[in-house]
C-alpha cells in the first residue's frame, strides 16, 4: 500500500508546484514541491525494492491525481486545503512515524532507506508550514478551521482507529520497518497535540474543531485499549 501512497503523493506534489507558481508563491516553495514530487517517485522505488526482496507483490502505481478537498472551493482555498492536508498534516505526521522507525531499525539497509526518507520528508512537511507562513498575509485562512478534522481523519484512513487485527500490535514489527498499530495511534495523536495543532496556531489558524476531533479520538483510543 505504501508504494501507491508514494506514487499518488508524487502526482499531487507536481500539481501543487504548478498551482503555487500560478498563485505567485515564492520560487523556494514552487521548487520544494517539484522536488518533493521527484522524491516520492524515488521512495516508491525503494518500497518496490523492499517488497521484491521479501518476495511480495509490488502493487500498481497510483495513476490518478487525487486531491483531498471538495472541488468547489475557490481556487486559493482549494490550493491551500491541498497543501495543508498533504504537508502540514500527512507529511508532518509521517515524520513522527519515521523517527520512531529509525530509532528501532536494526537492519543496515532498512536504516539507510529510512534515513533517506526522513531527510526528504522534513522538506515535504516544511513546505506546508512555509506555505502557511507565506499565505497568512495574502489569503483568508479562516476557512481552514472547520476542515481540519476532515483532513486529520483522511490522513489516517478509515482503519487506524478501529480494533487491530491479530498480529497488528506485535512489537516485533518495529524492527522490520512497520510501526505496530497500537503505537501508531498514539504517535498520531501525540504529534497532533505537540506539533500539528501548535503549528496551525503559530500561523493564526483556529484549532478548536481539530482539538475537539483529537479529543474524541483520544477517547476512542482509550476504549480500544481497555
Amino acid at each position: 500500500m505504501r508504494h501507491s501512497v508514494e506514487t499518488g503523493a508524487s502526482l499531487r506534489f507536481a500539481a501543487l508546484s504548478q498551482g503555487m507558481r500560478a498563485a505567485g508563491a515564492p520560487a523556494t516553495l514552487v521548487d520544494l514541491a517539484a522536488r518533493a514530487s521527484a522524491d516520492e517517485i524515488r521512495h516508491a522505488a525503494h518500497c518496490a525494492d523492499i517488497l521484491r526482496a521479501r518476495q511480495a507483490e509490488v502493487p500498481a502505481a497510483e495513476t490518478r491525481l487525487l486531491f483531498f478537498g471538495p472541488r468547489d472551493l475557490p481556487p486559493e482555498q482549494r490550493l491551500t486545503y491541498e497543501v495543508v492536508a498533504q504537508s502540514c498534516i500527512s507529511e508532518t505526521e509521517s515524520m513522527a512515524t519515521l523517527v520512531t522507525l529509525l530509532d528501532a531499525a536494526e537492519d543496515a539497509h532498512l536504516r539507510i532507506v529510512l534515513q533517506e526518507l526522513a531527510r526528504d520528508e522534513v522538506q515535504h512537511a516544511r513546505l506546508g508550514w512555509a506555505y502557511l507562513s507565506w499565505a497568512k498575509n495574502r489569503f483568508d485562512l479562516s476557512f481552514l478551521s472547520d476542515f481540519l478534522p476532515t483532513m486529520a481523519s483522511a490522513a489516517t484512513g478509515a482503519d487506524l482507529f478501529r480494533p487491530s487485527p491479530p498480529g497488528a500490535d506485535d512489537a516485533g514489527l518495529l524492527r522490520s520497518g512497520v510501526v505496530p498499530k497500537r503505537q501508531r495511534r498514539r504517535i498520531y495523536l501525540e504529534t497532533l497535540h505537540s506539533v500539528v495543532i501548535p503549528g496551525f496556531e503559530e500561523y493564526g489558524v483556529e484549532t478548536a474543531p481539530l482539538r475537539a476531533w483529537a479529543e474524541s479520538q483520544q477517547k476512542l483510543l482509550a476504549s480500544l485499549e481497555m
Binding site: A9, P26, F68, A96, S133, I187, E202
Partner: protein
C-alpha cells in the same frame, strides 16, 4: 519522542524558509509571480480536477 524538536524543525523551519526568501532580495510578496502582468489575479483554477471525487479523496496518506 522528540516532538518538541519536530515542531522546531518543521513548523518554525518552514516559516524561516519564507523569511529567508523575503530577505533575499524580493519584497516578500511574491518571489515567483505568474508569467506576464503580476497584477493579474490567479487564474480561475489553480489545480486541475484530476481523478478526485467531488467530495475529495479519503486517504490514507501517512506512514
Amino acid at each position: 519522542m522528540k516532538l518538541k524538536r519536530l515542531f522546531q524543525v518543521l513548523v518554525l523551519g518552514g516559516g524561516a524558509l519564507v523569511a529567508a526568501t523575503a530577505c533575499g532580495g524580493s519584497d516578500g510578496t511574491s518571489a515567483n509571480p505568474p508569467p506576464g502582468n503580476t497584477n493579474v489575479p490567479p487564474p480561475h483554477s489553480l489545480l486541475p480536477d484530476g481523478g478526485t471525487p467531488p467530495t475529495g479523496y479519503q486517504g490514507p496518506t501517512i506512514w
